[in-house]
Amino acid sequence: MLKQIEGSRAVAEGVALCRPQVICAYPITPQTHIVEELGALVKTGELHGCEFINVESEFAALSVAIGASAAGARAYTATSSQGLLYMTEAVYNASGMGLPIVMTLGNRAIGAPINIWNDHSDAMAIRDAGWIMLFAETNQEAIDLHIQAFRLAEELSTPVMVCVDGFILTHAYEQVEMPSQKEVDHFLPPFEPAQILDPNKPITLGALVGPEAFAEVRYLAHRKQLTAMERIPALAHEFAMNFARDSGGLFHPYKTEKAKTIIVAMGSVCGTIKDVADDMREAGHSVGVIALTTFRPFPFAQLRDALKGATKIIVIEKSLTAGMGGPLAAEIKLALGKSKQTLYSVIAGLGGRPITKDSIRGIVERVAHDELPDTTFLDLNWDVVNEAVGGAHTQLIEKHTNHKPKS
């Protein structure tokens, strides 16, 4: 059914169609509307057979989900930013124990300075935690990825995080096609846990593992991710067969065939980038786009193949590893291996700074003229930077760095 609704409501309705049995909620902007909607659906009985638990922190939210999942319930929660960091210990724990929890991450910057707006710093902070990480480009894809996420999580006994850009998607009203309960039930069978806490067949979950087996456990987690690399496109294909639209998969190539320049990005900004690509193609530039959906597992070989025709690759990403650069660019660089393609890393949209078509066009034009440095901070306000660099704090740092111990 076509609906014109807010992204958060779309995600909530999509999650409800997946018949979760335990939902844990703790408010943090911008994911609040999602759990509010789900709470209302449980309270009205539209989502029945589900426990909705208001907890005291994000750490508790994921911990409750861990207990529920280990006891065989389909468990869901949502968070953002500081909330994700606050539950980080449990994030690693859920994947270590192979619990198929699905979590929405309403992507938001991480402080300090405190900032409620969108970027991908939160997702990047837990990229090594062993979760499958999917990035939605649109609200439609956000719905569809959740449906695929439960299926994937339960098939592989591993948690899945669906990243949805805070405000840009969560608070945007878009037309979406909401699947029917029948369609979702057909695609997503009831949860059959791989192992369950049952007094009739007691098991010990979460034992202490020493050096003799720890590396093997970690290797198996890696292997599971590699299996996911095969299952994700297969499930996206099956989804397309059932729901008659393309959603999910490893990535979405857009006009990449014979493109000399390809822009790689994740999430909602891909829409803007595709618009720029269309405009620039009309102006004679051969530009394509890859919207990366699956960030973990990272599709190295598939990306290398998709990018092989391009001579220049621009990675636009909403995160920064201070002292290193763009984490996504670093991984794309790894994917390219020994190729002679030129890679440009563009850090953009931090803390909700809008990424405009004009700015992207400027980047592509500078790349065309070989004018762009390896790493660029898009639309950086140099007045602010220079004021700080010349300020008292910088002088103090200089004083310390020039300090000579008395002999």
Partner: protein, 336 residues
């Protein structure tokens, strides 16, 4: 007898302990029967004389009996978790889940929620942790579980410090006690006065259905309290006093005696509360001064040598006296 050696004792002299066989059948400990549930089996790696291993065995066996074996245990990180589950071995004969140090109460809430939504109403949930995992790092999750009145019995095994990491101070460490992070040096040796928290009373402030303290000195009482807690629903809390011979500097065969002296000196009062009100306490049958308790452990040795620290011993006695008053521990027992 040579210094440093002790004769093996098979029973505790000078106590009022009643032999199990002298009790009515229904009052006998669950451990006295051949069909006891054996929640935690032998072969685990606990230290000799471990109060926590003893407390956990009695508590969980009582809980298993009360639930006909239909229960799931959730464990915080700590000694109990480490010594019972060195992969690929396990001492647990019931379904058991360990997640993290600070989230046992929340994980248990999740298990209870899952059971509810699946209609597995006959299965009960018990969470357990040490004092660090309960009163410090797990305190937020514990309080959350309490205020939601989730259907979980949480048992804290209190050995008054972080023993698993090498005897550091926790918020359950008593004043003056020496730990690795409160050394017995300086102007105020050991843990300082005016710190720490009384989690049983904080639990009561949540007005949850049941709160009790218990001790390995009175295993029968521990079993009775666990059994009672298991007969109720909602959030329940039992705080069990479990001496740690290693961390406290006490002989491994003194665990029960040390625990008994803690209660008989009133430093660790035994009581029950329902919905925020104390409903019962165990009167002291043979009161001892706190120094009788303190002298049993090296962690308090600095209170007695090189000279007696009268001032600090007096303040500790005042703490005990306050417990006596608060829980009416020296009342005349009414004979039935």
């Amino acid at each position: 007898m040579q210094e440093g050696t002790q004769r093996v004792k098979f029973y505790q002299t000078g106590t009022l302990t009643v032999g199990n066989r002298l009790l009515d059948v229904e009052l006998r400990t669950v451990q006295a029967t051949t069909d006891r549930s054996n929640a935690i089996t032998s072969g685990h790696r606990a230290c000799q004389g471990c109060g926590e291993a003893l407390g956990a065995r009695y508590a969980l066996d009582a809980a298993m009996r009360a639930s006909n074996g239909n229960m799931i245990a959730v464990n915080a990180t700590g000694c109990l978790e480490v010594f019972s589950t060195p992969y690929p071995e396990t001492s647990w004969t019931l379904p058991w889940l360990h997640s993290l140090f600070g989230n046992a109460a929340a994980v248990a809430s999740g298990v209870a929620a899952a059971l509810r939504t699946q209609g597995r109403h006959d299965i009960r949930v018990v969470a357990q942790g040490g004092d660090g995992g309960t009163t410090d790092i797990g305190f937020a999750c514990l309080s959350g579980m309490f205020e939601r009145n989730d259907d979980v019995l949480y048992i804290c095994y209190d050995n008054q410090g972080y023993m698993n990491t090498g005897v550091q101070r926790s918020s359950a460490t008593p004043p003056t006690a020496r730990t690795a992070t409160t050394p017995a040096i300086g102007g105020e040796p050991g843990n300082i006065f005016g710190t720490g928290k009384d989690v049983p009373r904080i639990a009561m402030a949540h007005e949850i259905p049941y709160v009790a303290t218990a001790s390995v000195a009175d295993l029968h009482d521990l079993e009775a309290k666990v059994t009672k807690a298991m007969s109720m629903h909602g959030a329940r809390y039992i705080h069990v006093f479990v001496p740690c011979p290693l961390g406290w500097g006490a002989p491994t065969n003194s665990t029960i005696r040390v625990a008994r002296l803690a209660s008989e000196s009133a430093l660790f009062p035994l009581f029950e509360a329902e919905h925020g009100e104390v409903i019962a306490s165990s009167p002291i049958r043979k009161q001892v001064p706190v120094e009788d308790y303190l002298k049993t452990q090296n962690r308090f040795a600095h209170l007695f040598k090189p000279e007696r620290d009268e001032e600090r011993i007096a303040v500790l006695q005042q703490m005990a006296d306050r417990n006596i008053k608060r829980y009416d521990l020296l009342r005349e027992e009414v004979k039935a």
